[in-house]
């Protein structure tokens, strides 16, 4: 059972690797994509400089760096729809695969790339805005970036399952989701700034807990506090994955019943 699931994910991940090599060469990834993401971190951080509060600038630069993994894993919303556009969705529906596992492997290039870009953003940009990292913090931050990317990816899979049905709206869905998270997960202003319903909803976002973990590492929080934040993040990620798993099942069941998804 487990080996069959692993095989599905592994085989789908082959597509992820191939897609990534078609979209980017190492040059366009490094000098195009990475530069664009780092510019995004600097863009938000400079607003902290503009308002003239160094402490707030540190708050924003860490938030903006963590948002990189949100922006990048959100690309999975579009890549989930690629099989529909390429006409291979019918073959997938006819095959005995578990769709949730297939789509988990299908877009793994984004959390993989996001782990690298978020780590670079966290380690390279904040020092220009007054943050200093100790050597022991480096692997911790890379670990948080990896878990945040994977948890955020699980949330994106739910959006991907919706986009698979409404594929014309895939970019609108991912843009709205990215900007909602940017505004309301505590990246640019603390959560207590927002009304209670927004604060409650933010607890379901893996990025909220990733930010908490990063800020605890920067501010000298205890290991227990950091692990608690990470635990909440992983729990949120697993909950989203469970929703995505059944959502993809539902989408495939309806496609097999003939709701024009495979046309």
């Amino acid at each position: 059972m487990i080996s069959r699931a692993a095989t599905t994910v592994r085989q789908a991940a082959v597509l992820a690797r191939v897609d990534m090599s078609v979209i980017y060469t190492w040059r366009t990834w490094l000098f195009g994509w990475l530069v664009r993401l780092l510019c995004q971190v600097v863009f938000y951080s400079l607003i902290g400089v503009l308002v003239g509060d160094p402490e707030y600038t540190v708050y924003v630069v860490l938030g903006a760096a963590v948002l990189i993994c949100v922006a990048e894993t959100m690309m999975a919303t579009a890549s989930t729809c690629w099989d529909r556009h390429q006409g291979t969705l019918g073959l997938l529906a006819a095959s005995p695969i578990e769709p949730g596992l297939f789509f988990f492997g299908r877009s793994l290039q984004w959390p993989a790339s996001a782990t690298v870009t978020t780590s670079i953003a966290l380690l390279a940009v904040p020092p220009f805005f007054g943050v200093t990292w100790s050597p022991w913090q480096v692997p911790v931050l890379v670990g948080i970036a990896a878990l945040a990317s994977l948890s955020g990816y699980c949330m994106t899979l739910v959006l991907g399952s919706v986009a698979l049905v409404f594929s014309g709206a895939r970019n609108v869905i991912s843009t709205i989701a990215t900007l909602y998270i940017t505004a309301f997960c505590g990246a640019v202003v603390p959560l207590h700034y927002w009304p209670a319903p927004i604060r409650w909803a933010a607890q379901a976002l893996p990025a909220t807990h990733a930010l908490e973990a990063v800020r605890l590492v920067e501010g000298g929080g205890s290991a227990v506090q950091v692990l608690t934040a990470l635990g909440l993040m992983v729990t949120a990620g697993l909950a989203w994955f469970t929703v995505a798993f059944f959502s993809f099942r539902l989408v495939f069941a309806r496609a097999r019943a003939g709701n024009r998804l495979l046309d």
Binding site: I23, Y24, T28, G32, W33, V35, R36, L37, C39, Q40, V42, F43, L46, I47, G48, V49, L50, V51, G52, D53, Y56, V60, G168, N171, V172, T175, I176, L179, Y180, T182, A183, V188, V189, P190, Y193
Partner: protein, 259 residues
């Protein structure tokens, strides 16, 4: 002269008609209200209400540039896919003027973007932005939109000559927002970076639009407007020359269908 005017007018009317029918044209608008929320919450949280006007200018200009990237990347290739490209190239109108006219039509998206930004700031944050210098503001907005269309024409030419460049189409947004100071004035940048930013028409346009919302007098408005127009005109000249040269070669070699 007639082919130029005909191309410009045909492009403008075609694009505005198409935008009334296609919901996809408004994709760039999605970001405007959210960016206003993000920026305004940042400046209000920090107690800098004096910067609130910045937070409606930035989303407007970001929408403008996002639309420019989107349309410049898709326009000509869509013309080819729809079978319009060959008759358009064969017609007596100026093709670069047609592309520029269409992109001018696409820039009308900045109007609802500005309204959305103003509305979000007012309705959700109770902060209604006042335009203290309406004439300067309108002139700055129009010249910035025209220069954006001109720059997008240059990008269209670049994407058609070097299709590989479209890979980086999505990556040109944030560097432009940062370097042109759509939210943070370039005057705050280090000297060398400010010099680089001043080459971008958007940095002049963004500064001028912000100043037009501020109560104080707008200094050197004519010179700054002229800089927006001049940099836009240079981009348009480059784009037009590149398109004309490319089409001449494509006609001679019969490679138009490969665009």
């Amino acid at each position: 002269m007639r082919p130029l005017v005909l191309g410009l007018w045909s492009g403008l009317t075609f694009q505005t008609r198409q935008m009334t029918r296609s919901v996809d044209s408004y994709f760039a608008l999605v970001g405007a209200p959210f960016h206003t929320v993000v920026f305004l919450s940042m400046v209000l949280y920090s107690g800098r209400t004096d910067l609130a006007s910045y937070t409606v200018i930035a989303p407007t200009l970001m929408t403008l540039w996002t639309a420019a990237l989107m349309f410049s990347g898709e326009m000509i290739s869509e013309d080819r896919e729809n079978g319009r490209l060959e008759p358009l190239v064969a017609s007596p109108l100026s093709f670069p003027a047609l592309v520029f006219g269409r992109l001018c039509g696409a820039m009308l998206i900045s109007v609802p973007a500005f309204v959305l930004a103003i509305g979000v700031a007012g309705v959700f944050f109770g902060h209604w932005v006042t335009v203290h210098h309406p004439v300067v503001f309108v002139l700055a907005a129009v010249t910035t939109a025209l220069s954006t269309a001109a720059t997008a024409t240059a990008l269209s030419a670049l994407f058609i000559v070097a299709p590989g460049a479209r890979i980086v189409q999505n990556t040109l947004s944030m560097p432009m927002f940062l370097l042109s100071g759509v939210m943070v004035p370039v005057a705050l940048f280090p000297g060398w970076l400010e010099g680089l930013s001043r080459v971008l028409y958007l940095s002049w346009g963004a500064d001028l639009m912000r100043d037009a919302l501020a109560p104080g007098p707008v200094e050197s408005a004519a010179f700054r407007l002229a800089m927006v127009v001049l940099l836009g005109a240079l981009a348009l000249a480059f784009g037009s020359a590149t398109l004309v040269r490319f089409l001449r070669r494509a006609r001679a070699e019969g490679t138009l269908s490969r665009v």
